[in-house]
């Protein structure tokens, strides 16, 4: 007759025996090893640098992003966009981003929504500038915190991703993002946002928007690399971030950020 001790012993042995070979195969999966190495937290932390002085609002970045990341061209959502700010002499702050500036700013009239436009005379303008926006790949991302199924997650190199196969489409992450970078993909119907063109940067390429910008207003860098020119600018020059008060620790840095920027 089998004793309890013997039964427990052989059960434990059997389970370990079955688990071991599977675990061993898992451990030596070369792709996983390579991914681990590539995403080594001590070596890489992707950051973005926007020089607002250089941006002219042409919208080539938005166009390139839509094509690169397969966001339907005419859909009114976009992973990156450019905002125009116009400050009048009497202290008014006007801002707009028609179609996310996909086609640039083709008119001087400010889009007020509801089909209305406002014309500001040249002589009434105190200052005006453009601000490109994209996902901030926050160090403390609220979108990752609120995802109920773990479909949105941050990799060790700081980029926040979405698992389209696991996203339930509750929209909590969209609600949780203070920057409004998230939306539902019109085709996949799951949460969607900029990921610094992760498929490109992990292969040594630059994000599509960076490549598309003719003026060098957008740059990507690795903050863990002290020799990286982007890192040097962030460390040695005066840069700003968006909506610091939310405690999200955004990793997109801006040169020439103004207090009027929303």
């Amino acid at each position: 007759m089998i004793t309890r001790r013997k039964f427990l012993k052989s059960t434990a042995l059997g389970v370990t025996g079955m688990a071991l070979p599977l675990a061993a195969f898992d451990f030596i999966d070369p792709r996983k090893l390579m991914a681990l190495e590539a995403a080594d937290a001590s070596k890489v932390r992707w950051v973005f640098l926007v020089d607002t002085y250089k941006c002219v609002g042409c919208g080539l970045c938005v166009k390139a992003c839509k094509e690169e990341n397969e966001i339907p061209y005419d859909a009114n959502v976009t992973r990156t966009w450019v905002e125009r700010y116009v400050l009048t002499k009497n202290g008014e702050v006007l801002a707009d981003t028609p179609k996310g500036a996909r086609d640039g700013f083709t008119t001087a009239k400010i889009d007020l929504g509801l089909g209305k436009y406002r014309e500001v005379k040249q002589e009434d303008i105190e200052k005006a500038f453009f601000v490109p926006k994209l996902c901030n790949q926050c160090e403390n991302p609220p979108c990752v915190q609120v995802c109920p199924v773990g479909a949105t997650y941050a990799t060790a190199d700081g980029v926040v991703h979405i698992d389209r196969k696991w996203c339930i489409g509750c929209g909590y992450c969209i609600m949780g993002c203070p920057y409004g970078v998230r939306f539902f993909h019109p085709v996949h119907r799951t949460a969607e946002k900029c990921n610094f063109c992760y498929h490109r940067i992990t292969k040594g390429l630059k994000p599509a928007c960076v490549d598309a910008c003719p003026f060098g207003a957008r740059r990507i860098g690795n903050i863990k690399d002290p020799g990286d020119p982007v890192t040097r600018i962030i460390m040695t020059e005066r840069v700003g971030i968006l909506k610091e008060e939310y405690g999200t620790k955004p990793q997109v840095f801006y040169i020439g950020l103004s207090r009027e920027v929303k």
């Binding site: 859909a75 009114n76 959502v77 976009t78 966009w81 702050v93 006007l94 801002a95 707009d96 981003t97 179609k99 996310g100 007020l112 929504g113 509801l114 926006k133 609220p142 990752v144 915190q145 609120v146 995802c147 109920p148 199924v149 773990g150 479909a151 696991w166 996203c167 339930i168 489409g169 509750c170 929209g171 909590y172 969209i174 609600m175 949780g176 993002c177 203070p178 920057y179 409004g180 970078v181 998230r182 939306f183 539902f184 019109p186 119907r189 799951t190 008060e245 939310y246 405690g247 929303k262």
Partner: protein, 417 residues
Amino acid sequence: MVHGEIWTIKELFVYPNEYIYWSIQIVMYPLMTGLVAGAFVLSSLYHVFGIKQLKEMARFALVFSFALLFVAPMPLLLHLMYPLRGINVLMTPHFTSAIAAFGIVFMTYGTIVASELWFLYRKHFVEVALALRNKPDKTIMEKGRSLLFRALTLGSYDVSEAALHSDEKAIKLLAGVGIPVACFLHGYAGFIFGSVKANALWMTPLMPVIFIMSAVVSGIALCLLTYIVTMEIRKFLASRRRAMPGSFPTQQEIKGVEVNVIRMTSRYLLFFLIFAISLELLDLIFRGYTAVKSWDVLRSVIYGKDFTAIFVLQYGIGNLLPLIIFLLPGLTIRRTVLGVLLVLFGVFMMRWNVVIGGQAFSLSFAGYMHYHLPIIPTDWETFKEGLAGALAILIMPFPLFWIFGKIFPIFTEAGAE
């Protein structure tokens, strides 16, 4: 078309990806869970605190809470882009998210309500099961009923005095444990909103408490309304049966029960209503007084764009008017019906003003979004997140309640206990 675009109209400076993503179903979700929690708290007032006047209402409210329980998660499922993936929340819960605990909180609460119901109706199950078992020549319906009730007894046929006494103890315990769990279920719904730091209107630690109070208010109101309607139907049936002699209660007997129960219940309704209004006003005053960065845009929404929805529909018609109706002496049934209808409307408007109002302004604080509820569905999306979907959710508890009423008899006839 992008999700949300069809019912969102943007004004001034709104970020390109912003739409009203949480629409009517998210208004329905706290409304329904609120009703569940409120109905349960009402039933517990009798079981735990021994408020005798609510005895008749207690059973009613518990069964109704059970019916509502099945409807409560439906709005959440309907609003998902992938409703069939809703189960992922239970499979890989990501516990830093407030939504992840929903399955656990909901199931805990469901188990408590189901067990309490079982203890409450165990004697009835045994009686029916035994009566049907001994009956010769059963019809197919009776055979089915017999099987159902035999299953419902869970094999426990002991209805001795001692066994029933321990049943009562169990009911008291479950009702007692159920109150904090019910409050948690709904306070937790408030937390889902209150913890969104990106949303200036939602983010307040008062949100869960406000939600609990208004939940109890709405739960009591709906129970009162359903109770009155059910009693009216019974009275109508009684008047038809008057010709027949025997055990049926007379019209007068039913009416007597009704007024007593209603007066008592409405007093509790009033108490919770005052508490709910005070908290909401406190929140509003605090926001105005502290006037942080977001106050400019919030003020323009609260006192401007949404003035009618907030001050006329919610506070005026939904809170103040019923307050007067219930406070005036000599409460009649007709006045109660009007009062509870207004209260229910007020709670709905409160949910609306929180959920839709919270998305009425852009994250840029420099633009607005207007919500247009899809009335006529043109596709699946405008159906489930439109008027039709909301009405379906509103109606669903009542057929369920009717079915459950067949298994758990809600009214004890005179002298039965």
